[in-house]
């Protein structure tokens, strides 16, 4: 029923609006003084020359990649879990095959060193 989401919808909108609303309201009370030295990025008091961009190892990326696969996998597991009493043994084996294939992928990723972080 869509109607039951009414409260959630309103809460969603309020929760998003709270942050900008508070910041705009706070503008009436908070001091604001433009000083160029204040806006320098903080790096332990040292003057900063370069901005970090595109300089990081690709390892973080692999984490996201493997995560995505397992994220999609959980999406398939949700309907299975919620209808477990109906699907019974058949569903159990079905998902068993599904998961075994994924576990194979997991083992491959492990053997390839994608899940090793200590070099």
């Amino acid at each position: 029923m869509v109607s039951s989401y009414l409260g959630i919808g309103i809460l969603f909108v309020i929760a998003i609006i709270i942050v900008p609303f508070t910041m705009v309201l706070g503008k009436l009370f908070r001091p604001q003084k433009f000083e160029i030295s204040k806006l320098e990025p903080f790096e332990c008091g040292i003057e900063v020359k370069d901005v970090p961009q595109g300089k990081t190892s690709v390892h973080f990326y692999i984490v996201a990649l493997v995560f995505l696969v397992f994220d999609v996998e959980t999406v398939f597991l949700f309907p299975w879990a919620v209808a477990f009493d109906k699907l019974g043994l058949f569903g159990f084996f079905e998902v068993g095959i599904f998961l075994l294939l994924l576990i194979a992928a997991y083992i491959y990723a492990y053997l390839k060193g994608a899940l090793k972080w200590e070099e």
Binding site: M1, S3, S4, Y5, L6, G7, I8, I10, L11, F12, I14, A15, I16, I18, V19, P20, T22, M23, G26, F29, R30, P31, Q32, K33, I36, K38, L39, E40, P41, F42, E43, V48, V51, P52, T56, F60, V63, A64, V66, F67, F70, D71, T74, L77, F78, A81, V82, A83, F84, G88, L89, F92, G96, L99, I103, Y106, Y110, L115, W117, E118
Partner: protein, 353 residues
């Protein structure tokens, strides 16, 4: 005039608004005071007093902190991506706040006129799934905040936050899936009802899931021992460049997550608003109001236990290192939770039939 107001009260929109106002007031009070409770408790753990000067027992301390942050200057650094910098705190804040909407706090309230009011904002069918899908958005707050600052420490904080929250989301989801499997519903009230009818709290059959949930709960909220994104003594944190109320929203967002996850945990594993050792539903037929209130208290106490667990862990443990954290997430928790899935399926299929 009064009848007009009364009529207005009956429309679902206004009813929902009233519920939201109550929910937000209570939620923000709890979130504000959990910061004080944490500081006082840490004080007691560390043989000191904690804030006690501002008002009686330091009760005005959270308000003072909040107002202070509110009237503090707001800086947007030069190298930052200004728009992104401004909108990033929204993402850490709203998923958990919306999550409060799907929690059911007690058995339905019966008015003298025999009307039934749900003790929840919206007890939707999607329940846990909605919570999970929204909390998957929480990562953007840290990630974008770190990236948009245009400074190195936040950049590292953002990267760490990213891989940490991704790594622990899968085990968390898998552990919740086992609960869904037992209850055959995403709805939180159904999950609690299943525990009430079985007369068995799920943390007994799902002990592995419960432990995984406890670990992932701490990791998802970036708290000690998994507080790498804001490891103050290493990289100063993804919110290094944030000041004033924007920082305040990160601060509040963290505690919102803490409160929310420690309110979700009892519903999933400890029977939620069920009063232990009592047949709730039978009693509810007789004394509906009393059981509703007692159930709410029971729920509150269970949630406080989890919140206490958070603070206790914070006072005790050192911090993990980045690679160890990922190792635990991917090489320990993920395989265990996958195997656990089969175990629970087997239990459900062959033992509980």
């Amino acid at each position: 005039m009064m009848s007009y107001v009364y009529d207005l009260m009956k429309t679902p929109f206004v009813l929902a608004l009233i519920k939201i106002v109550i929910l937000l007031v209570v939620a923000f009070t709890v979130i504000a005071y959990i910061t004080l409770v944490e500081r006082r408790l840490l004080g007691f753990f560390q043989s000191r007093l904690g804030p006690n000067r501002v008002g009686p027992l330091g009760l005005i301390q959270p308000i003072a902190d909040g107002v202070k942050l509110f009237i503090k200057e707001d800086t947007v650094p030069i190298h930052s991506n200004s728009l992104l910098f401004r909108i990033a705190p929204i993402f850490t804040f709203f998923p958990s706040l919306v999550g409060f909407g799907v929690l059911t706090f007690a058995l339905p309230w019966i008015t003298p006129a025999s009307k039934m009011h749900l003790f929840a904002l919206a007890d939707v069918d999607l329940g846990v799934l909605l919570v999970l899908s929204l909390s998957s958005l929480g990562i953007f707050g840290l990630m974008l905040g770190g990236y948009a600052s245009g400074s190195k420490y936040p950049y590292f904080g953002g990267l760490r936050a990213c891989s940490q929250m991704l790594s622990y989301e899968v085990p968390l989801t898998l552990s919740i899936i086992t609960v869904v499997m037992m209850a055959n519903s995403f709805r939180l009230s159904d999950i609690v009802t299943a525990q009430q009818t079985h007369r068995l709290y799920f943390f007994i059959p799902l002990i592995i899931s419960f432990v995984i949930y406890l670990i992932c709960m701490i990791a998802e909220t970036n708290r000690t021992p998994f507080d790498l994104p804001e490891g103050e003594s290493e990289i100063i944190g993804f919110h290094t460049e944030y000041s004033g109320m924007r920082f305040g929203f990160y601060y509040v967002g963290e505690y919102t997550n803490v409160v929310f996850l420690s309110m979700l945990a009892p519903a999933l594993f400890l029977g939620g608003y069920d009063i232990p050792f009592v047949n709730d539903i039978a009693l509810w037929q007789v004394y509906p109001q009393l059981i509703s209130i007692l159930g709410f208290c029971s729920y509150a106490i269970k949630s406080v236990l989890f919140a206490y667990f958070y603070i206790w862990v914070r006072a005790t443990f050192p911090r993990y290192r980045y690679d160890q954290l990922l190792k635990i997430g991917w090489l320990v928790l993920l395989p265990i939770s996958l195997v656990n899935l089969f175990i629970v399926a087997g239990i459900k299929l062959f033992l509980l039939k």
